[in-house]
């Protein structure tokens, strides 16, 4: 695994009006990582993803990809949404080829159409949907549609693939199949993935690194202070493509229970100085107010 820093997020805040969503987020992600972001609903997981995507700007702070500030959405960041990732008026193959077609001029597109088609076909075969090339998205099942959406993004060779609850709308069986599928694909390509989910089990099963975003913590800003979500825990996970049986192992269940306590329990408030940021890339820049009486 290469060890360059790909994504760098420093002191990022995001608020909507009076409501503070993201509160001083610090984060770096190395390339090749399958990074899952989990947290209770309303913690701002999708907000953070939209900032990385460039769909919205942060209220303050900086986000960089490969050392360059992040602007509007562009091909350096691929995205798979929970829904609406595919264009209904294009066939499956056309959907996958779209990225290549958009890059080519009109003449070039016509001259290279066979080549582009074959190229798209290799991606479609990689997600094992070669037989469905000429169908329209509505003719595929939800899981197949998401696989097409992944192929559609991969053809642009994005530096990082962002996934926003991509399996959230699938039934439990399909969902598990898609998790295994994603792990196998990741194992093949070692692409960098930033995967947002509210499902703790999914996050722990998939990730080489699991980030917990939560608004349930405490600091020295006093009781009335406006607080948003922070990264309250950050684990490195061993990654060998594991069978789904792992989900029932003692270690796995224990991890989930720990994270549930750290991130999902409004009654259990850790101090900002005590977060479990054990991952080697993890860092935290606290403001004076946040750690007033907490030298640590």
């Amino acid at each position: 695994m290469s060890s360059e820093t790909l994504l760098h997020i420093l002191d990022v805040y995001k608020s909507y009006g009076e409501k503070l969503i993201l509160d001083n987020i610090d984060l770096t992600v190395r390339s090749g990582e399958l990074c899952t972001l989990v947290g209770p609903s309303g913690a701002g997981k999708s907000t953070l993803l939209r900032l990385i995507l460039g769909q919205e700007p942060p209220s303050s702070g900086e986000l960089q990809l490969d050392g360059r500030p992040i602007g509007f959405p562009d091909p350096s960041r691929g995205i798979v949404f929970q829904r609406y990732s595919l264009f209904p008026h294009l066939t499956v193959l056309e959907n996958v080829a779209l990225g290549a077609n958009l890059a080519a001029g009109m003449l070039e597109r016509w001259r290279r159409r066979k080549e582009i088609q074959d190229h798209a076909m290799t991606y479609l075969e990689r997600v094992r949907l070669g037989a469905h090339a000429d169908k329209y998205p509505h003719e595929l099942s939800g899981g197949m549609q998401q696989r097409v959406a992944i192929a559609q993004s991969l053809i642009k060779r994005p530096r990082i693939l962002l996934m926003d609850e991509p399996f959230g709308a699938l039934d439990p069986d399909t969902r598990e199949q898609m998790q295994v599928f994603l792990l196998e694909l990741w194992d093949e390509t070692r692409m960098t993935v930033f995967f947002v989910t509210h499902d703790l089990e999914e996050a722990a099963y998939l990730g080489t690194r699991i980030l917990v975003l939560s608004q349930y913590y405490t600091d020295d800003r006093g009781d009335g202070a406006r607080r948003g979500a922070k990264v309250v825990a950050d684990y490195q996970l061993p990654r060998a493509v594991a069978s789904t049986a792992t989900k029932h192992s003692a270690g796995f269940l224990e991890l989930i229970e720990t994270i549930r306590l750290e991130g999902f329990s409004p009654a259990h408030l850790q101090d900002v100085g005590e977060f479990n940021l054990r991952h080697p890339d993890s860092f935290q820049t606290l403001t004076e107010a946040e750690r007033h009486s907490n030298p640590g």
């Binding site: 995507l53 769909q55 509007f72 959405p73 562009d74 091909p75 960041r77 691929g78 995205i79 949404f81 829904r83 609406y84 990732s85 264009f87 209904p88 008026h89 779209l98 990225g99 958009l102 890059a103 329209y136 998205p137 509505h138 559609q152 993004s153 642009k156 994005p158």
Partner: protein, 257 residues
């Protein structure tokens, strides 16, 4: 099968009434018999006119269709471009939305005299009426359809390297097209209304002109076939557009259900 019942019923009623009147007065013009209508069609459609040498019904159909199609195609094209850009760019909708909404409120027939005065009594005024009567509806419909396309698609297209123009004309436009066809299907009825009104008031040919001309002679034997013919034309256009949707936009029909 049951659908045919009302048709048969009306037809039967007509025949009975016509027959009753003809038994009293064999030269009755108000409810002509089928043979009378057949003769009229023979005269209008298959015999050259004594004065102009034209086949009147054929000629009427040709000029009327030309007016109707010119107006509706223009309305569809303008409505598509305007509605699409309004749906995509807030500045465009801010500028044009109140205007279009106001225009849509003006009853088109009320401005027909203005059109005749300003544009003359030739083709331009008639086509303009059809255009003005239908394009606000088309624009609004395209605008709303564009707005309904999920934002995610635009973001997704950007991550695939699309430019603003790509998004407008390669992502959104093809998705709006079937909706446009549906809208045109719905506005065709209004377009016919405007066409016949304009032709009735100031024209020298056309299906609407002919009906209102022969009305003076109580020529129901001409009027009734013309009405049936106009209905048939409208039905055929609708059928053709529906066939186009089925052939080229199968994905759209599924989404609609």
């Amino acid at each position: 099968m049951l659908a045919a019942l009302p048709f048969v019923l009306v037809l039967g009623l007509y025949l009975a009434a016509s027959d009753a009147r003809h038994r009293e007065n064999p030269s009755d013009k108000i409810l002509p018999s089928f043979s009378q209508m057949g003769k009229a069609v023979q005269r209008m459609a298959f015999t050259p006119d004594k004065r102009s040498g034209k086949y009147l019904m054929v000629n009427d159909t040709a000029v009327s269709l030309k007016r109707l199609l010119t107006g509706i195609v223009l309305a569809a094209a303008v409505g598509l471009l305007l509605g699409l850009n309004m749906g995509l760019f807030p500045g465009m909708s801010g500028t044009f939305n109140p205007f279009i909404t106001t225009i849509a409120m003006v009853p088109p027939l009320s401005i027909l005299p203005i059109l005749f005065i300003a544009l003359g009594v030739d083709e331009l005024a008639k086509v303009s009426l059809i255009f003005l009567g239908t394009f606000p509806v088309v624009t609004r419909d395209v605008y709303l359809a564009t707005r309904k396309i999920p934002r995610e698609q635009i973001t997704k297209a950007l991550t695939l390297g699309a430019s603003q123009l790509d998004i407008a004309y390669r992502i959104l436009l093809p998705q709006i097209l079937p909706r446009l066809i549906d809208t045109v299907r719905l506005t065709l009825g209004a377009a016919w209304l405007f066409l016949i009104a304009a032709e009735a008031i100031a024209s020298t040919d056309g299906l609407g002109y002919r009906i209102f001309l022969v009305r003076r002679y109580l020529a129901m034997d001409v009027i009734l076939p013309y009405v049936v013919w106009i209905t048939l034309l409208g039905f055929t256009m609708d059928w053709l557009l529906r066939a186009l949707l089925r052939r080229r936009f199968s994905w759209y029909l599924v989404e609609k259900d």
